[in-house]
């Protein structure tokens, strides 16, 4: 049970402050990147009208998420934000599935990964909002319906970052804790593989999709 809360860290002193690097999470994130890049190279290698299996898989993902983005935003905007959405989903999906492989951990299990992705989505949504509405109209929205609602509107916006990132973190972390505890209680007999399939594959896929959809939704709410 000691594995709970065990994190490999690299602590670097910088001018009296300390910078903590979470080596395990960085390594796992780079593994996901590597898998994605290799997949991308092989899927687009010698692409033709008659697609090869990897190309088909790639096309399915790209097409589905382009449609989603087009439905929520419009055709022009989907060209700008579509690639972001597709790669966000693929990254999250692989990250959530990574824990299925022995000795590897989900990078999303550490709060830093979902939080930074959430901040990224938030920043992009607000950039898109300012770009499409103009700065003045964007600022005026915070003073709706009455001017003194401004602090509450601001907290409401910031709370979105909290909710989107803690949802992913809570689900993945909760799932891995349940797997660990149940494996310990049952001495690794029968139940853990089933739980891995449920939390790793099923919940991981749903949460990757929810995170991606919410990023699209935040952009579309800001734009319209």
């Amino acid at each position: 049970m000691g594995e709970l809360g065990l994190i490999h860290q690299l602590i670097i002193p910088v001018f009296g402050y300390t910078v903590t690097l979470n080596l395990e999470v960085i390594l796992m994130t780079w593994i996901v990147f590597a898998i994605l890049i290799v997949f991308g190279i092989f899927a687009t290698y010698k692409k033709g009208v008659v697609p090869r299996p990897l190309q088909v898989i790639g096309e399915v993902f790209v097409e589905q998420f382009y449609h989603l983005t087009e439905d929520a935003l419009d055709r022009e905007m989907a060209k700008t934000y579509g690639p972001l959405i597709v790669s966000l989903f693929l990254f999250l999906l692989l990250s959530n599935w990574l824990g299925l492989i022995p000795y590897l951990q989900e990078p999303t299990k550490d709060l830093n990964t979902p939080l930074s992705l959430g901040v990224m989505g938030f920043a992009i949504a607000h950039y898109a909002g300012i770009k499409s509405k103009g700065f003045k109209a964007y600022i005026m929205e915070y003073f709706q319906p009455i001017f003194f609602m401004m602090p509450l509107n601001l907290i409401g916006e910031l709370a979105k970052i909290v909710s989107i990132s803690f949802r992913l973190f809570g689900n993945i972390m909760g799932g891995s804790i349940i797997i660990l505890v149940v494996s310990y209680l049952t001495y690794n007999v029968v139940l853990p593989p089933l739980l891995n399939a449920f939390f790793g594959l099923f919940v991981g896929t749903i949460q990757a999709f929810v995170f991606t959809m919410l990023t699209v939704v935040y952009i579309s709410v800001q734009v319209k």
Binding site: D71, A72, L152, I155, G156, A159, V217, S220, V221, K224
Partner: protein, 82 residues
């Protein structure tokens, strides 16, 4: 167990913060669920307007979430200001 005035105030503030956010989360959670259920019903009846209906649902949910945000603000005030 020594209980002093400041300690008692702090203890009450912590319990208050927990109850404020905990109980305050019930209403918005149920209410937003109702909104989502009705939006699904409307999309089932009229799938062509799915985009508009989803946007309306999000606006309605944002408004009904505001009471949850008020509880969050009160909880944070109780934790850090009091």
């Amino acid at each position: 167990m020594a209980i002093e005035g400041a300690d008692l105030v702090k203890a009450a503030a912590f319990i208050g913060a927990g109850l404020s956010m905990g109980l305050g989360a019930i209403g918005p959670g149920v209410g937003e669920g109702m909104v989502a259920a009705k939006a699904c019903e409307a999309i089932g009846k009229n799938p062509r307007e799915a985009g508009l209906l989803t946007r309306t649902m999000l606006v309605g949910q944002a408004v009904s979430e505001s009471t949850g945000i008020y509880s969050l603000v009160i909880a944070l005030l109780l934790l850090f200001v009091v």
